[in-house]
């Protein structure tokens, strides 16, 4: 709540201070010949609000990575996951995705999104009104399940337009779905997140779902309450500018 207020305050403050600087500039130049500044066109800003709703029963979603980019995609079914994706899918750490060379504009969610909860994340980009949008977040009570949106083209979204979709659950294929104690970073286990070892199929696929103790995997720390189905999240996009 405090963070939200601060952001709002800053937004109001910035235009005021910019105005003050301009007028100060103007008075300094009063006694000199006005030289028109070189025409540097003001950047065109495209702004979006991305709302992610967690549709699962008991799978918190890790802080969301929201990314605008022009090329590429963050995963391909049937192909090996990038290490950046592995960090997110195994441990919920979005910093490597946000630091990826494809990223032109990136924002992180403030906190994990609890089941049933939503978060709205604002993101802007300069001089690109047809960016690709990717949204990635981990289902934290799993070994390496993630969901999101992969390089969705926003070219046809005009200011004022909204669009929404639902998202499937994917498996990064980088960590075996052992469901074992110590391997799941979410609150059910508090185990290890990222591990560079790749002991699974090593390609991204749709997630097969969890097994849990009720279905005979006695070594599992998961119960059927942690089960999920497709879709697991709703993603809404509004273009505000």
């Amino acid at each position: 709540m405090t963070n939200l207020k601060l952001t709002h305050y800053k937004k109001q403050l910035l235009p005021l201070s910019a105005l003050f600087m301009l007028s100060a500039c103007g008075s300094d130049n009063n006694d000199t010949t006005e030289v028109p500044p070189a025409e540097d066109p003001a950047p065109v800003i495209s702004s979006y609000e991305i709302t992610v709703t967690n549709l699962s029963h008991a799978q918190p979603l890790s802080p969301v990575a929201v990314v605008l980019h022009s090329t590429g995609q963050f995963w391909t079914i049937g192909e090996s996951a990038s290490e950046e994706l592995e960090y997110l899918a195994e441990g919920g750490d979005n910093s490597f995705i946000l630091g990826h060379s494809m990223v032109e504009s990136g924002e992180s969610g403030a906190a994990p999104i609890a089941p049933g909860a939503s978060e709205t994340i604002s993101i802007s980009i300069e001089d690109n009104d047809m960016p690709l949008l990717s949204v990635i977040t981990m289902l934290v009570n799993t070994n390496d399940a993630f969901t999101g949106l992969n390089a969705h083209n926003l070219a046809e979204l005009a200011p004022g337009d909204s669009w929404s979709t639902t998202a499937h659950v994917y498996d990064s294929g980088t960590e075996k779905n052992s469901e074992a104690s110590g391997t799941i970073p979410g609150p059910v286990d508090g185990g290890t997140g990222f591990d560079a070892l790749r002991d699974d199929v090593d390609f991204v696929s749709m997630h097969p779902g969890i097994v849990a103790t009720e279905d005979g995997l006695t070594s599992s720390v998961l119960n059927k309450v942690h089960a999920f189905d497709n879709p697991v999240a709703k993603i809404s996009v509004s273009r505000t500018e």
């Binding site: 199929v201 696929s205 097969p208 779902g209 005979g216």
Partner: protein, 231 residues
């Protein structure tokens, strides 16, 4: 009068040409551990179909769903003058894609697809009478797994022959499927074509209730992605 006839027939011809289509079809296995048997992809008249949910499977569908044998369904397509894409004999492994080219005749306005899932008793991926768009473009479809309802899902090694219990285990699956399971169930209470409830499996390679690996050989729908490009 002759001129009028000519115009009329030209109009009919162009109308027919608008319905015939050149399709490029890419099928992708989205699962982590399920294989697909050779895929039947066919355009056919809307009055016919390869399967109907909520109805009993035909003998031909049963052959496909229990053993991967699409010859019966291919005969049905041929019998209604449908257009089937060339069948590729290999299994489609997890994560893999397969491309098909299909030229359709004017009357064949819908597209259908079937392929058995391995390891299962009688699960198949299906597309039932999707109307082929007349507008050129690329269309993405997600496909679900169905249960033919013709065999109990005992999940143990057995036969791919219609009406015989157990799962067929062709070579690539041989090393991936367990042995000695006691059988998950001997009953199939819904004997119509329905959405598959999924594999149960177990975590024992030798013994347990199932010969299926519960951590890998499961799925959630959708299990396949179909990208159809209408030229």
């Amino acid at each position: 009068m002759k001129l009028r006839n000519l115009i009329l027939s030209t109009a009919l011809l162009s109308g027919a040409a608008a319905n015939a289509a050149e399709l490029n079809i890419e099928f992708q296995n989205l699962t982590q551990g399920i294989y697909f048997t050779p895929i039947l992809v066919a355009a056919h008249p809307a009055e016919s179909s390869l399967f109907e949910t909520g109805e009993s499977a035909s003998d031909e569908l049963q052959m496909m769903a229990e053993g991967g044998d699409i010859s019966g369904l291919a005969n049905i397509i041929a019998g209604v003058n449908g257009n089937a894409a060339e069948v590729q004999a290999e299994l489609t492994a997890p994560g893999m894609s397969r491309s098909f080219a299909l030229s359709t005749d004017a009357n064949n306005t819908v597209l259908s697809l079937t392929s058995m899932l391995l390891p299962t008793n009688d699960a198949f991926v299906g597309l039932d009478n999707w109307t082929i768009p007349t507008e050129a473009g690329t269309y993405t479809l997600y496909l679900n797994a169905y249960d033919a309802g013709t065999e109990a899902n005992d999940e143990i090694r057995g036969s791919g022959a219609p009406g015989q219990a157990g799962m067929p285990v062709p070579p690539p699956l041989e090393a991936l499927v367990g042995t000695g399971g006691s059988g998950v169930t001997a009953e199939e209470t819904n004997t119509t074509v329905h959405i598959h409830r999924g594999n149960v499996g177990d975590s024992m390679n030798d013994g347990g209730i199932s010969d299926i690996n519960s951590s890998v050989q499961r799925w959630l729908n959708p299990i396949a992605k179909l990208t159809v490009t209408v030229q």
